[in-house]
């Protein structure tokens, strides 16, 4: 028998290659199409009669390796993982990529099922965004500050959750509340140490905005200084997915995340509408000097808003770490514009507007991937932001007088 000859492509002339062996019930499968793509490079090959394949690639990077399921025999599919997977090299110049095949029916997801799934994802994303956006919106309403460093308060919560749950190995039900409390402390600290003194000096709002940009840069790189450039996972981030109905799959983390968001958002709404401090917050957002004249301690309310806003941002950061998934030094900055878009869409300075805006942005980002490439999904939301400003600059729930 001649040496087992794998079907090869581009192996000569390239320094690196992927190889694999396609088998089903220990029998090699011939003629299965394997594709490799990444970094502008594409190649494909069919497995030989021994089921083996080998594809050379030009550089030691991460590539997407796809097994074309339509070339498998009837009733056989990729059972573990996806038919497309990311493959990368270790220390050697070759890497093995094997797909685990089994019996099954290939699921072709219908448009409606995809739509429903994306709607759920978008709702989840939007609720998480709302937690961050309401805090930023309350801060804007009470102090006039567009706080760019809000993104770093989001990251801070996630990093604290990581420190306590992984580095100190605390259970999650302790680590997450502690992370949220520490975020609140950060908010208190920033207000007392930075924003309150600046308000006392009478610093203008544009000046404050640029200070917040400086703070955002400084904090972001402080995070990178301590955790480096990598991505880290919180415990439980790879929980199993449950099929709800049709082909809508949600993980347990998704469901917990949505429930937590809804409960917290309802609590914030109750606080704003029913408590003295909540009413005072809305009064200050409406007209700060009038509120002050009618006996409201503006400084105290602003301090509470900072504490609450930071705690909500920290919680949203933890949920964002599960949604992305992973913790990274600039994870907050990557959604800062979506937070701003949500606030502006809903109507600057109105808390409920921020909620509505967040849900719209979240759902828009996820659902738009049905039609546009997923690396452009944030573009859709940002374009809508610009268009809404054209027709209704005060936002959806804002009042006309605010636009000046």
């Amino acid at each position: 028998m001649s040496a087992a000859h794998a079907d090869e492509i581009n192996v000569e002339g390239n320094d690196y290659y992927f190889a694999g062996n396609v088998k089903y019930n220990s029998e090699p499968l011939e003629g299965v199409l394997i594709k490799v793509s990444g970094g502008g490079y594409n190649a494909e090959v069919k497995t030989g009669d021994d089921g083996k394949w080998k594809i050379g690639v030009p550089s030691k990077d991460t590539y997407d390796v796809t097994l074309d399921e339509s070339t498998l025999p009837k009733g056989v599919i990729v059972v573990e993982g996806e038919a497309t997977r990311e493959a990368e090299f270790g220390l050697t110049n070759s890497a093995a990529v094997n797909f685990f095949l089994g019996e099954g029916v290939r699921v072709t997801v219908s448009f409606w099922d995809q739509l429903v799934e994306r709607l759920f994802n978008g709702l989840n994303f939007g609720l998480m965004l709302a937690l961050a956006a309401i805090g930023a919106s309350l801060v804007f309403g009470t102090t006039g500050l567009s706080n760019f460093a809000h993104a770093e308060m989001v990251t801070f919560g996630a990093i604290m959750a990581f420190v306590f749950s992984v580095n100190l190995a605390w259970p999650l039900y302790l680590a997450i509340p502690v992370a949220v409390i520490l975020s609140a402390v950060l908010g208190l600290f920033l207000d007392a140490g930075l924003w309150r003194p600046l308000r006392k000096r009478g610093t203008g709002i544009v000046q404050l905005m640029i200070v917040s940009i400086g703070l955002s840069l400084a904090l972001r790189y402080v995070f990178q200084y301590f955790i480096g450039g990598g991505t880290y996972q919180l415990p439980g981030s790879s929980s199993d997915s449950l099929t709800l109905f049709g082909s809508v799959k949600l993980t347990a983390t998704d469901i917990v995340s949505m429930v937590v968001s809804v409960i917290v958002l309802l609590a914030v709404a109750w606080w704003l509408l029913r408590t003295r401090i909540g009413k005072a917050t809305r009064a200050i957002s409406d007209n700060s000097s009038l509120a002050s004249a009618s006996g409201i301690d503006v400084d105290r309310v602003v301090r509470i808003v900072w504490i609450l806003g930071a705690a909500l941002a920290g919680l949203s950061g933890i949920l964002w770490a599960y949604f992305r998934p992973g913790i990274k030094w600039d994870m907050g900055a990557s959604i800062l514009l979506l937070i701003f878009a949500a606030i502006t869409l809903g109507g600057l300075g109105t808390a409920f507007g921020a909620l509505v805006g967040s849900l719209i942005v979240g759902i828009l980002v996820e659902v738009s991937t049905l039609w546009i490439p997923s690396d452009l999904k944030y573009v859709g939301a940002l374009v809508v932001l610009v268009l809404v400003l054209l027709v209704r600059p005060q936002g959806i729930l804002g009042r006309r007088e605010r636009i000046g």
């Binding site: 970094g39 567009s146 709002i205 200070v211 840069l217 878009a341 502006t344 690396d375 940002l382």
Partner: protein
Amino acid sequence: MDWGSILSNTAAYLISPETIAYALAALGLAVHFGYTGLLNFGQAGFMAIGAYGYAISILSFDLPWWVGIIIGMAASVVFAFILGIPTLRLRADYLAIVTIASAEIVRLLFTTQAFDEYTNSADGLGNYHAGFRAANPFTFEGNVGFGPWVYNANGWWVRVFGIALVIVAALIVWLLMRSPWGRVIKGVREDEDAVRALGKNVFAYKMQALVIGGIFGALGGVVLALPSAVVPSVYVTSLTFYLYTILLLGGAATVFGPIAGAIIYWVIMAFLSNVLPALVQVGALPFMDTTQSQVLRFILVGVALMLIVIFRPQGIFGNKKELTFVK
């Protein structure tokens, strides 16, 4: 520690293409923010449009290099109109949110796989230098220069061309700002309603300022692209923030402020990027490694931006009377 090479590497940034590019873009920002009071947070987008306009014109459409520069500038004018028409009638922070969002849209459109044929997506563009280098008036062989500034003919051509652009741009800004047009522009910054009451079309003046500053931004992008390559990950929101740091360091409503700011910024950054790893290696900074020492520079940029805005908002060369932060 090799102080000779540290100081020489630092001095090289006095006239590096990065310094020149940042100076041009910051000068554009001075027209926007310093003189007109427009909060443009999308200067990185203008730079990206200039750089890609230049590179794509040459690579995909085989146009001469100078036509590429003109196309980059023209594209930035179009971008300025798209930004300005919806927002210039609204309050200042609306322009801020729309410009920052639009710059991000531009960057994502240049990065996406969808237009890979023209933009080469995340890998960026290169190898468009032939035309620009063929136009090089310097014909000497090998490296020429003195002290830390020794470059080959192409290196000098990029620098001389860039410096000439900065001088022309600075001259234009200086002449504009002492003209009647410049007085109206500063009036718009101080009190829009008063200028409107005098019968001036504030919207048109703001739009003209946005276009002029945007063109300087695009030229900054071109100069950044001239010596090496167009890398999409450069044109992130942080780039705009670094430009604000430069602008506010030098003085927002000045002609020489942005240029001096760019030089100070890059010289300090280059000095730190050379001296900090050296200090780490001799054990003078025991609590960090060399990667962390590079990150430390950007922490310092953020802190510097905060301190400048709080304690010296008019910058080094600015006049306290001409403070941009009036509202």
